[in-house]
């Protein structure tokens, strides 16, 4: 029986409520791994002041949309996809999440300037894990 999206959403809710950060389900021909990013949860609850800091308002976060291992560069390329200070277009590939043999791109939600690559190469990331912090183009360059 294939797992439906609604099942995944329900599973994610259960994880969220129970404080468990990972669940893995294996069936023939299918492995499902859900990872809840507890760091953001902890960060959010531990320092509510940081979330409302004036600078943070300007940033947009590019997030992972699958669970896997983050790579800042393609293994065949020396240079990472992006570096701080680099101007990017909306839709640009900012990094990869390796899941099995698949390399899922982390995509820029907006045009802007890369402020920081937050995730470290090799780190396990999950759905919603912040990967790259972007200063949106409109905020960084009001003339544009």
């Amino acid at each position: 029986m294939p797992i439906e999206t609604t099942d995944i959403a329900r599973l994610a809710q259960i994880l969220e409520n129970s404080g468990v950060d990972t669940i893995e389900i294996e069936e023939p021909g299918l492995t499902l791994k859900l990872v809840v990013d507890t760091r953001s949860r902890i960060a959010a609850s531990a320092s509510p002041a940081a979330a409302t800091a004036p600078v943070a308002d300007h940033f947009v976060m590019a997030k992972a949309d699958v669970a896997g291992h983050f790579r800042a560069a393609h293994p065949w390329q020396d240079k990472p996809f992006v570096a701080p200070g680099q101007r990017i277009e909306a839709g640009a590939t900012l990094g990869l999440v390796k899941i099995g043999l698949l390399y899922a791109p982390v995509v820029a939600p907006t045009a802007g300037i890369v402020d920081a690559v937050i995730a470290e190469t090799g780190a396990m990331v999950g759905y919603g894990t912040p990967i790259v912090r972007i200063l949106p183009l409109a905020a960084s360059d009001p003339l544009n």
Partner: protein
């Protein structure tokens, strides 16, 4: 349709090959890196034998005349679609009028451009591969030229953009140095016509791939490996991967466009699971041969199949996830 805007080397249309026409003297042709071709087609949900463009020398530029999904596999290339960079072994998409620009190749020897549905040239004698010697198959049986229009089959492939792990990483061989490929071989009919010292030279040498290497064969340079006495064989069938030793003692690996028969003594044959590694070995690079038993060669083919099976399974998961959204 695709219009070729710029082409530097003998780019050609290839599928997996033409395998059952030996009795008419027709060789297999087909992709020099069959694993990369299969992977590109798997990425697009194509038949794995769908035809693609094999590109040996950059730069290479083309324009798509309609919205279409495509994949680049094989060699590591620096490529852009409508100005967006495309990582290696990647599925992407083009909008009508977009230009694909493959600028440079950082390692490997051949890049494969597969498109959703495949390049739709006519099937000739069971294959769409270009038969250069016979001047048929592919596009008019010849390498691609500027201005050529390649017909593409229609396809319903999704346009999600993502990549896969290159075969060269998953199937990496131990002890392989940069720019030296180690390929496994099974000894062939005339191996015993060489003295032990000549055999040893064959195994121990790091062979240089000469500029006279191409889809017909890889001509290697190194110490002369000579048989005990000159060997003049009656002509017999040969297949891609056969390593012949002509009288000058310099090995020639027969590749996809090789003659279907020959008479020079054969010292060994590259196993099916490693032929793509030769196809991705660069001119001026090095090759080393490693002796393998038949049963181990079959196990190596199983490893290759397992990689492709994992790709297929991974892709099915992506498709299922995609249809849920």
């Amino acid at each position: 349709m695709i219009e070729i805007l710029s082409v530097t080397g003998p780019a050609s249309i290839q599928d997996l090959g033409r395998f059952d026409q030996y009795r008419f003297g027709v060789g297999t042709s087909g992709a020099m890196d069959d694993v990369a071709l299969r992977a590109g087609n798997i990425l697009l949900g194509n038949d794995e034998n769908a035809a693609a463009v094999e590109i040996p020398i950059m730069p290479f530029r083309l324009r798509f005349d309609r919205n279409i999904a495509f994949a680049l596999t094989g060699a590591a290339v620096e490529a852009e679609i409508a100005g967006r960079a495309i990582p290696p072994w990647w599925r992407s998409y083009a909008r009508a009028g977009d230009i694909l620009n493959i600028k440079a190749m950082s390692h490997g020897a051949r890049s494969y451009l597969a498109v959703g549905g495949g390049i739709d040239v006519p099937m000739v004698l069971g294959s769409r591969s270009t038969q250069f010697r016979g001047e048929f198959g592919g596009l008019h049986g010849r390498p691609l030229q500027v201005g050529d229009i390649l017909p593409c089959a229609t396809s319903t492939a999704a346009i999600g953009e993502f990549g896969i792990e290159p075969a060269g990483i998953t199937l990496a061989r131990p002890n392989a140095a940069a720019d030296e490929s180690i390929v496994r071989v099974i000894v062939a009919g005339e191996y015993d016509a060489f003295e032990a010292t000549a055999q040893e030279l064959f195994w121990s040498s790091s062979w240089t791939i000469t500029p006279q290497s191409n889809r017909y064969g890889y001509r290697l340079q190194g110490p002369a490996v000579k048989p005990k006495a000159p060997v003049e064989k009656r002509s017999h069938g040969i297949v891609p991967g056969v390593i012949q030793i002509p009288p000058n003692g310099q090995p020639i690996i027969q590749m996809r466009d090789a003659q279907t028969s020959g008479g020079y003594p054969k010292i060994a044959t590259v196993i099916g699971a490693d032929l793509w590694r030769v196809g991705q070995a660069r001119l001026g690079g090095k090759l080393r041969f490693e002796q393998t038993a038949y049963t181990d060669a079959l196990a190596a083919e199983d490893d290759m199949s397992a990689y492709l099976d994992r790709l297929r399974t991974n892709m099915r998961l992506v498709e299922e996830a995609g249809t849920c959204r």
